[in-house]
Symmetry: C2
Subunit: 293 residues, 2 copies
């Protein structure tokens, strides 16, 4: 692979996830912090209008607007659809034969600690992840189930990169500890790209533990879609811990426990993510997989 020529640090894809927004503001004011000698660095606030309104989005979730067919569809004219086209054009301008890496900074109300969401199967991403796993043993690696060629996510603009999810943190506020952890992770990624471009090799492990989403679970609902239960207290905040058949999953408002009826041990993440209530996702069940690099 050729050298990486451009690295984009994107925050505020969701306007109420302040960690990434304030990091991008910082990098805009102090651009030398993300500058390295071998590539161009860009800091981008992705959804400024949603941030101004203190909301996740204005019309619809910006981080579901980046399917290639949607970017080319002139009939999509919501604020976020237009913003997605603008971001795509800005980030891919003058990019012929260039290689970009993108970090999209998110936060979650789930107890997911520091999580890297890997988008592509590109070997570089896996080696970067393995390096981060060596530096930060507490960082987890997650993959959605979606097919790669049709990804709606902002981070899929570039072949390389990831989303960084940090939590638990409520929407609309800053947690200084998570702010600093995220910032440290960004610098480690920038340094890794710089070393890669200079032909330096980091020795890394040969395997990486990846949590692969295999199923999303909705809250129990009645015929009108009204929620009938909440995450069971025994499951709350237990992201990345094994869920065994028969374990409590939900608690109805009347106090009845609903158990996990699957047949295999899975690892729930995004447990009780506030932004996913409207998406019909109470949690994502993952396989814990050992990927060989």
């Amino acid at each position: 692979m050729n050298p990486i020529t451009r690295v984009a640090v994107v925050g505020g894809t969701h306007g109420n996830e302040l960690t990434g927004i304030y990091l991008v503001k910082k990098f805009e004011q102090l651009p030398h912090l993300i500058r390295r000698s071998s590539f161009e660095s860009i800091a981008l606030l992705a959804n400024p209008k949603a941030y101004e309104l203190r909301r996740r989005y204005v019309d619809l979730d910006l981080n579901r607007c980046f399917r290639p067919q949607d970017l080319e569809n002139p009939h999509l004219t919501s604020y976020e659809a237009l913003q997605a086209k603008k971001i795509y054009q800005d980030l891919t301008a003058n990019q012929t034969e260039q290689i970009g890496l993108l970090m999209d900074l998110h936060s979650t109300t789930a107890n997911m600690g520091m999580t890297l969401i890997l988008n592509h199967q590109h070997p570089f991403n896996l080696h970067l992840a393995a390096h981060l796993a060596a530096v930060y043993p507490e960082v987890k690696f997650y993959r959605w189930a979606q097919a790669e060629q049709d990804s709606p996510f902002l981070r899929s603009i570039y072949p390389l990169g990831c989303a960084i999810e940090v939590g638990p943190v409520a929407q609309g506020l800053l947690d200084a500890h998570l702010f600093r952890q995220t910032e440290a992770l960004i610098h480690t990624i920038l340094d890794y790209v710089e070393a890669y471009n200079r032909g330096q090799l980091f020795p890394t492990k040969e395997t990486l533990t990846v949590y692969q989403c295999v199923q999303t679970i909705d809250y129990p609902r009645d015929g009108l879609g009204t929620m009938q239960a909440m995450i069971h207290p025994n499951l709350q905040s237990r992201d990345y811990e094994p869920l065994y058949p028969g374990d409590p999953m939900f608690l109805t408002f009347e106090g009845e426990t609903i158990v996990y009826e699957g047949e295999s041990i899975l690892y729930p993440v995004f447990i009780n993510e506030a932004a996913y209530y409207e998406k019909g996702i109470a949690m994502c069940l993952t396989h814990k997989e050992l990927v060989t690099l």
Copy 2:
């Protein structure tokens, strides 16, 4: 004092604080749960439109719309101003010579556990609080600095009652543990009112610890109002713990610590409440006071 004739349990004064909203939905479906023999019970969802939009409010904070002069002002026509007038009319209809008690259910992103916010100096409220303190030693009691005669809060519709704040919980999600704790507290209050109406006396302590707000502190900001710092990690989640002169208070985005420069020991609460960023409140500093009943 005459018997209490009506008790209102209000949720969703803020449309993204789901604990109270789902408790009210439950009580609407199962009204016998809040029914007692000696008074009328009402469950009320205060801001249904904001709840539908998954937001704190539509136009402005409903819980600042209940000043007597605002309720009588025909020129105030925002959604929340009109909703406040409607709620006031509904809750005070046929109330001549009657006495009402109101519980307004809120949640906070601050680590405040179970907190009762006392509105009035009415002796009944203090005795109720002392009873709750005996049943639930972990419950805290808080008072805002505002003068009573000009209260903008929904709970001030009735002479008796309180707001119940539970946290930490992110906006827009349900925490089953806090849901159940809040429900238990409501039942204890209902039982107390029932016992009072029946002339039963609960022996309570003669004193009550109350955290009295004496000052609110804003985030450090530049001339344009842009935040320059976040809550210091050492202070995060330390609600109700003593803050000593010289203790870290904020951390700038560049990593500089800003300390508490006051001269007396105070007890911060509402530390890093997401809804208060726009109000210019990073925390409320309180005096810890021993009130004699």
